[in-house]
Symmetry: D2
């Protein structure tokens, strides 16, 4: 049983827990130098079509990963370009700026930024009295549940190449993005266009952990020093190795994400049948705009988030996950019929 508050309210899929217990009394080399982490890295490289030379590191959480990657790879005068709704700009308590890097924002359309905006930012930053744009940050799926199409990613990559920018993809919900029906490409495209990206575990059935993938050779040296310097290296790193090894065994990672997407689709369909008008979105976040009274009633019962408040209406967010099941939907629909 799960509410619809978020996709990290239930600890882990049983198979992940089983794997953790299976290796619970085994001795492992600490700090990520263990067999499980190596296996997991190999599986992730394969899943995203990355060569052997690609580095994979495991970190505890998403904000930490964004903080380490962005502040660790840029110089003090360089900046990252993000959509104004980007997680780093809104919901990370200034973690990126906290480590010294300015976030340049552009207004998002459907939670996304585009190649033209990147170009415009670069052209506006003309001299040493302004920061030097050096990285583009995008989330896929985005904070509003949308995804990037193949052509959009290729255009962004092209803009990055043209202006010498790194492309960093925040994949906290990359599983949901890549397994949703609307997605027009496979994981390899991510592996191909991104200089660096992470594969989110926390929001897809793992107790914790994000797998950071570094393709660009320039960004690889001494990254383990950086992890330690930013407090992001776990002594028992093999815990993350075990989790991701299991997640990428038998496609569990993709199955969990697909399940969450399917539950979201059922939710959107059910809402529509009941006369509601959910905002169209392809992944595991469902947004609904409705009158305040009913919105608050739903929030009280199902823990949804208030996404946007208006005078008479508000937008609320439902999130599905590996742990959402048909009973959860049924409970919700029953409730909605009564209000």
């Amino acid at each position: 049983m799960a509410s619809f508050r978020n996709d990290y309210g239930v600890l882990a899929h049983p198979k992940i827990l089983e794997a953790i217990c299976k290796y619970g009394s085994e001795e492992n080399t600490p700090y990520g130098h263990d067999t499980h982490s190596r296996n997991a890295a190999k599986a992730i490289r394969k899943a995203f079509g990355c060569p052997k030379s690609t580095d994979v590191h495991f970190l505890a959480g998403g904000t930490q990963t964004n903080m380490v990657v962005i502040s660790g790879l840029l110089r003090p005068y360089e900046a990252v370009i993000s959509c104004d709704s980007g997680h780093i700009n809104v919901h990370e308590t200034g973690a990126v700026e906290g480590q010294g890097i300015k976030v340049i924002t552009v207004p998002g359309v459907d939670g996304k930024l585009n190649a033209a905006q990147i170009e415009a930012v670069v052209k506006r930053h003309i001299d040493e009295h302004m920061v030097l744009p050096k990285m583009v940050y995008i989330s896929d799926s985005t904070e509003t549940g949308t995804i990037y199409a193949k052509e959009e990613l290729l255009q962004i990559r092209k803009a990055c190449d043209k202006y010498g920018l790194y492309l960093y993809i925040d994949g906290a919900r990359i599983g949901s993005a890549l397994t949703c029906k609307a997605c027009d490409h496979g994981p390899e495209l991510i592996g191909q266009v991104a200089d660096v990206f992470y594969v989110g575990g926390t929001k897809n059935g793992l107790p914790l952990g994000e797998a950071l993938v570094i393709n660009n050779d320039e960004l690889k040296p001494h990254f383990r020093h950086l992890l330690k310097n930013k407090g992001a290296m776990l002594a028992k790193g093999y815990l993350l190795g075990i989790e991701f090894e299991e997640a990428f065994h038998n496609d569990l990672y993709w199955k969990l994400a697909r399940h969450a997407n399917e539950m979201a689709e059922s939710l959107r369909n059910g809402l529509t049948e009941l006369g509601f008008e959910p905002i169209p979105s392809p992944t595991n976040q469902v947004f609904l705009r409705l009158d305040k009274d009913r919105a608050e009633a739903i929030i009280a019962e199902f823990g949804c988030e208030r996404w946007e408040e208006g005078e008479e209406e508000e937008t609320i967010r439902f999130v599905t996950s590996f742990a959402t099941d048909k009973e959860d939907l049924k409970r919700l629909f029953t409730f909605l019929q009564m209000i």
Copy 2:
């Protein structure tokens, strides 16, 4: 079966894993606002004799905790005083300085600093051209396995009071310190003298996690903002809550630490019987100085750490943990008889 390399080579005690599995499919409020974290906080306050007003936060690892506490609570021009062998000074890749705070070091005696040294440091820092000492950092047990006696802690506290310094105790191995035979005080003394301290989970049978305890009211406001800002707030914070709840249920935490100490004592006794001369130390780290040939042979077989290298001799470190058992000792002793 465990080597003697460190106390974080085996994931977790079975009881901790059981608890994790037990709550694995339960829904919990994220970011540490869950019942397990509340229960764990309560149990920790009780164990260390802290009042209800004391704050407890759960973080992923020790370096992270040191980094957040020291850099988050001091101002840019303030500094922390540490023993030269202190973990923050040697083995954290400059994480504290990385966040902007200078570590003032004093030469340790048996890995410890004392009240007189604190006083001397304060008196030497006389004007605005020097940093302003504002915090004292000690580890208990220390990096060399020694512990602080009651009187030493009280004297340090007195010096801190005299000069307006915060006392911060790094308790990565506080379990081992407090349960060893030589310890002349209970956990309450830690709760009483420290402005802020942490109770180490990673090195005492938990998969990950450190419980940070804040006694001083000045240091409490907005600490959760700080955690997020430094990438140290886990979405599934209840994982840490579950672990510590179980650890402080039925004294498991203390039992595991006591077991590690007993194994260390058996190790020291066995070494002595075999004609070796281990350096006396009361906790779960055992240091042995011997000729290079035998030292290297032991390292190759048991993964001990090279602690200090000399021309002809070297000091190696054995560490015991909750996972060390009599078979491990037997294997070691058999090996030692052969070299």
Copy 3:
């Protein structure tokens, strides 16, 4: 003779240079503990109606002052609110973020922010996943030459009081703001509403230097430690003392600013007479939108800045200063008649 490029192209007013030479071989206590600095502080307190308890420090430049004040007085998770056109957001190469503080921007109207926007920002930052707004940054005169009216300042102060925010006024061009015809208040209002503000020297006839005025008691302790920690304390601080002592002797500071404003007014009038349509603005920056050909011709001859580029037109900026004289205007007008 001066171009119209900026107000810092000529080193200093002769009276300032005289003062510097007068005291050039005198011995002074270093690091700002000298008589001249004390005299200057006293005169500045008096000019802005501040009590004796107000602290005054002298720094070398504006970006440095903004960097030290904002990052030094806020905690890592706190943020400063600025107009999007604010100097700290656009033209300081991320100096504020570089020291760890996020700048929250709001869209400026005439280069200004208002009390309602402050309130909206505060209300949007609701929990520990977002930064905590703690300071409001405004420039007066603004980056586009506008000024804050008395009522606007009082409303902003009220919003700051309501939400526990510090008000920081960047006075790089405070002289021009306070001496322009449109200004409806005296310097005392600045001294009254601001927790901290600076009185710009560099852009008003001094070789270098900004006088930082701290009214709020909370912000005073250890500020000299902070200055040194950020590399902002000059050994020969008495140079700045001498400059500001002279600047606030016989109202020289105000006279120079008034002169710059008068030259700007003559410039606006002259432009209008010649059929141009300068954008109305009350201080020493004059903006003119015109066709590209003529704009570029003026830039080439007078070093004006390209302020905004459009398809067929562009906006250019003329700046007047203490060094601008009638001959400069005549040269410009003659040139404009020919293009």
Copy 4:
């Protein structure tokens, strides 16, 4: 007339002031893009035997320069090696750590570090749990008035080459070092061995300013962005250009330094004749150990610094400068005969 407190108590040599006044009403391009700065850079390159490709930047003060260079050129996990008596370690209020970089200290002999110590530090820092030594910082002349011999500098350079370290020389008193009788090399050696060094103006007759010289191509890109980002770029940068242009015209810089050294030598000789035993030192700092009563009497009269306090004796420091003259010495000697 000058006391013996320091070498920055008198603003500037008259010739420097003349130059400033001469160009005081001239219009110049701001931010260091002016003719005077270019001329000064050229003269400095020539004086130190550097090629045209060497970059020269002008900053306001020494702590600022150290802060920008060290923190701007190293990555977060890299560290700088310094003598324990190094200015960055003692008298800069943690400015280097404040920007995120750890200072690794080694015990100085006569205020100097040597190649063997560098090698030992590098060998001790073996993995990602420790910082990565990447820069060596030395002051010449040192904080205790000593200088590096040619052979010492070459050995340090060799160690830096062997381990891939940058050599950074703090030349706050490089004039005094290079013009003292004991110096066995010319300025070209500094230009040859250092990756980056600065030529101190503040302590050698200039009102303010240090000329930073970057030889190593790796360290040149975007340095102006860095200056601005750290609040270290002056709008009226041509002030520093004018000062250094004059300082390196007709060898004024070297003459002023030589004068300070000669005054120091006369001081040491005079002290010896009067029966005192000054600690031998070749440059413009003179150290004298004597009984407390007389030490305090001298301090009270001449503003010398207390350098080291003992039970019955203390060491005081006299500093001479361009402004010290024979009358100052005579006054001192007369006083010493009376106590």
